[in-house]
Symmetry: C2
Subunit: 213 residues, 2 copies
């Protein structure tokens, strides 16, 4: 694969149905896309396959007209069935070598790195970007390891040629620091899903990201 | 596809790690295979993908030398990654049309029918056998519908040309009635997973099934 364009990773929305404050996920995602989100990851840790698939098909239809790629968390079967552009795999998901063997060649793979060992290993793996997870402490995910911090992000930047997407505790107040520490893109959950106005919040974040580069 | 041989469905073990009474699943499955099990379905509703995949790879290695097919419940990504022979889909799993589109052509698809409407629909679907679920009431699955009973099974037999696998509350005491009512194969969970001697229990069930045909 010729390498994933970092452009599509700049402002990366990760969904969490529980954090939309009762608003339909489709409305929040549509607003965020109008505000400038460049990529959307569907994460559904508690849905059965039928419901997960329905959400994926809905988001694919919503995103395709905007040219915004859809990434499916964990479930490469869902990704293939809804013809998503990418998958994101964590340390308790399928190994990236297995996923790469099964996925069509055009589907990109993101992989969460939680330790220095993961980063060292990533150079030999068929992954298209790294998720630096978490960059800051966050209440959104409870199963993650020690935050990398900006210094950890800088070290990963120095060690890896892959595009880096930082996730965890990112908001308008620290977004530019994270970009300057080496992130190609910022992934956010609550900063968009829970925002009073997701479109405005996305536009603000996007501007901050592009300014900091 | 030329039609799945009903021979491989005769005695169909569905795994449940919680019902092995503390014994390693591999030991229970190996014993049951020595006793004559013809097919094994891995069902893991509460595992993360990494653990599910590890179980699938383990069972595939265990079953392949015996020529016993491995079927994966729900997760067609796991099925593809471990090169399983089949998948089994229920009403809350991926729709069979979507699964068929994604799966390699040689992987067979079983589908659970819970209502008369499901049975009527099955004739037009790309499925290779039907799971008649549940044939009797059972404590193993709590999310299923009204049991079909032997009369319901007879009606499905009359209505469908597909191989039928009955599941739910089957044991040595009713196995022959279920075969005579039209089942090509019997699927069991606790009758093997919880048996004092799974090999002996499998041998007994297999004999009863073959005698009743």
């Amino acid at each position: 694969m010729p390498g994933l364009s970092p452009e599509i990773l700049r402002l990366y929305l990760v969904t969490d149905q529980a954090l939309t404050r009762g608003r339909p996920l489709a409305d929040v995602v549509a607003a965020a896309v109008h505000g400038g989100v460049t990529c959307v990851q569907l994460r559904e840790k508690h849905s059965d396959t039928r419901d997960f698939m329905a959400q994926a098909v809905m988001l694919k239809a919503l995103l395709a007209p905007h040219g915004v790629p859809l990434v499916i968390n964990d479930r490469i079967d869902i990704a293939m069935a809804c013809v998503a552009e990418g998958v994101h795999l964590g340390q308790s998901d399928m190994r990236v070598q297995d996923a790469r063997r099964v996925l069509p060649p055009g589907v990109f793979i993101g992989w969460s790195v939680e330790t220095g060992e993961d980063v060292a290993q990533s150079a030999g793996l068929p992954v298209d970007y790294l998720g630096v997870s978490p960059v800051f402490a966050t209440p959104t995910k409870t199963d993650t390891k020690t935050p990398w911090g900006l210094e950890g992000l800088r070290q990963i930047r120095a060690a890896s040629a892959l595009p880096l997407v930082a996730i965890g505790g990112i908001h308008a107040g620290n977004a530019q620091d994270v970009v300057r520490a080496g992130a190609d893109g910022l992934a956010v959950v609550s900063a968009l899903c829970s925002a009073d106005r997701p479109e405005v919040a996305a536009r603000d974040l996007k501007r901050l990201i592009l300014e900091a580069r």
